[in-house]
Amino acid sequence: MTGTRKAVAALFLLPALVLLGALVVYPIGYSIVRSLYDANGDGFAGIDNYKAIFTDDGIRTALKNNVIWVVFAPAVSTALGLVFAVLTERVRWGTAFKLVVFMPMAISMLAAGIIFRLVYDQDPDKGVANAVWVGVHDTFASSSAFPRAHPGRESPLVPQGGGFLTRSAVRAGQPVALPLVGVAPDQMPGDAERAVAAKAEPGRITGTTWQDFTRGKGVGRLGAPDPSELGYAGMRIEAVKGGTVVASAEAAADGTFTLPAAADGARLRLPASNFREPYNGVDWLGPSLVTPAIIGSYVWMWAGFAMVLIAAGLAGVPRELLEAARVDGANEWQVFRKVTVPLLAPVLAVVVVTLMINVLKVFDLVYIIAPGSSQDDANVLALELYRKGFAEGQPGIASAIAVFLLLLVIPVMLFNIRRLRREVRR
């Protein structure tokens, strides 16, 4: 080995080492020192900034969320990746499937964030998550048609328990008017027709329930159906005597209804079920669900990564071992549980550890998906570091968070070095 050789080696290494030193190593040292000083950087603060990580409410939320992230996001992604990797071996279009699941890894977290802001939109007419959810919900529980309806002026109805009750008892042969107002025109049932006044029928109770409102001052009459007024098609009407329902009916498209003689002398009630707010789905990005929702988008991005690594590991599993287990009478689940998974354990460990490191750094997804109103609830350390360092003028605390993040990955760093030391000495 000559001096020139060494000089050449130094030249080859110089650019990389200078850049690494200035941009990666120096910042580590700087952060450690900076984390011991206060916000301005003049006063020595000791471990105050580190104490803040565990006492400041905002940072504690972030810490708690990070724990949730680290526990669930890698586990769910890896479990799904394992299931996909095993199952895709059984279909011919496995490669196409893998491509679809792996694809989100190629796009930015910003794009994924925008994609999932759309998916999680609260309005079931915009967000596909709530559209599906409400669709399923409404199949099992019907929603009502008149959420905002209420009595107008001089109404014969009074509010009662979320519904409305007539002030006085009804008599057979005397048509009843049950007018309400307040249903937006586009919210009226699609089959509603022009309301008509019910005809008297001897021995029965007849009546009309309709939207008693005509646009324009003095155009419509109160208490009687006008030409432009629609009937409350499908409204339920109950006749109540002494607290029990004696008869019930449903309004026709023109708002008319007929009750049997049994309802004579009863008071009519429009029960609360008519006026429930329509089910609006889940508030995915509200304070309580925002973190699981964002973890969902992370899994969407990273399950493909787990799947591809595990599939590569699976390709290395000797087929004879699986066949032998099957011949011995093991069913598919037992083969999976007792043979495949143990053989894949090293790969699974690498995937989980890699994802854990990755999850510690998650920033973009939370920053983009969590709306301003619930960003505090969705906070994670990487986001809090950014906020403290660049929005709140607290570089001391931000540096402490940075050092804390670094401490969390040091075990992996040591593991890498140990593993490589063996390989380097070939």
């Binding site: 990389a16 850049l19 895709t88 059984r90 796009i107 994609i115 998916v119 290395g316 993040l405 890498n416």
Partner: protein
């Protein structure tokens, strides 16, 4: 995952598993479970595609339609589809300028990492100097350092030397944090080059630089491709680094769109096509170079 470097890209599945036993009952059970597996994977695949399709269709609808009904209604009314949002977006100087910035940041940051990383990787693989392995381990130990650690120190450093807010600053940052992986990947790949090839060239009197350019770089093609694609996607898709180190004239598309997210709901006609345009290049790269991408991912599993 150095062990997998040799088997890069060999992720093809060995085909459907043949049934082990041939009794009628187990064959019926096998058919049934095979059907279940197919249905399950179909549903999951749909689940994975729907969010992206939603974005694509949303970007192709007028804002008025967007606020009136869900994107899935286009399947009943395809006449809603329009390129208006894209047209408006491409007339928006902020967006087109930020796309140019994205290219100006990504291409140099990728080329520099490949060149500088190759030089160092070659030195670590084939040159003799004291403490070589320790230096290499030192570089590799930096693989897992979170970028967040460097944000504040480098922001102050760049502020002092006048790089803050410049495209050059963002490029340098990405090169710095791309290098540990580059050196790690390339050194391991170069180390597999047969010694005889290098010795022969040395005997012919080739200098180190010549050796590097004529022998090592051409042989390192696959690893360099993996690294290049990986770094390209990483830089192209980055938002955090650019968010900290750029200002309005130098920001890439991710940051330009990020500023729009605050008014989410009123500007979906900017966000949806913008996000989709920002995805087109990464997706094209991904589909064109799947194998290299996969091997990059596998090699970098510990990053």
């Amino acid at each position: 995952m150095t062990a997998t470097l040799g088997s890069i890209g060999k992720t093809t599945s060995p085909g459907p598993v043949a049934p082990a036993r041939e009794s009628l009952g187990s064959r019926i059970a096998g058919r049934l479970s095979g059907g279940l597996v197919r249905v399950f994977l179909l549903v999951v695949g749909l689940f994975w595609l729907v969010p992206t399709i939603g974005l694509l269709i949303s970007s192709l609808r007028a804002p008025g339609d967007m606020s009136a009904s869900g994107w899935w209604t286009v399947f009943g009314k395809p006449s809603q589809l329009t390129f208006d949002s894209y047209q408006k977006l491409l007339e928006n100087g902020d967006i087109t300028g930020s796309l140019v910035n994205t290219v100006l940041i990504t291409v140099p940051a990728t080329v520099l990492v490949v060149v500088i990383g190759s030089l160092a990787g070659y030195a670590f693989a084939w040159m003799e100097f004291p403490g070589r392995d320790w230096w290499f381990l030192g570089v590799v130990s930096l693989l897992v350092v979170p970028v967040q650690v460097a944000l504040i120190p480098i922001a102050e450093l760049f502020g002092k030397i006048g790089l803050f807010g410049s495209i050059l600053g963002v490029i340098l940052f990405h090169v710095g944090f791309g290098l540990p992986f580059a050196v790690f990947l390339l050194r391991n790949f170069f180390a597999e080059i047969p010694r005889e090839l290098l010795e022969a060239a040395r005997l012919d009197g080739a200098g180190e630089l010549r050796l590097f350019a004529r022998v090592v770089m051409p042989l390192g093609g696959p690893a360099i491709a993996s690294l290049g694609i990986f770094q390209f996607l990483w830089v192209w898709n980055d938002m955090l680094v650019a968010l900290v180190f750029t200002k309005s004239g130098s920001q890439p598309i991710t940051v330009a769109l990020q500023t729009q997210v605050r008014q989410f709901g009123n500007n979906i006609d900017v966000l949806a096509p913008g996000a989709f345009i920002s995805m087109v290049i990464p997706l094209a790269v991904f589909f064109a170079f799947q194998r290299q991408f996969v091997s990059g991912v596998m090699a970098g599993a510990v990053k």
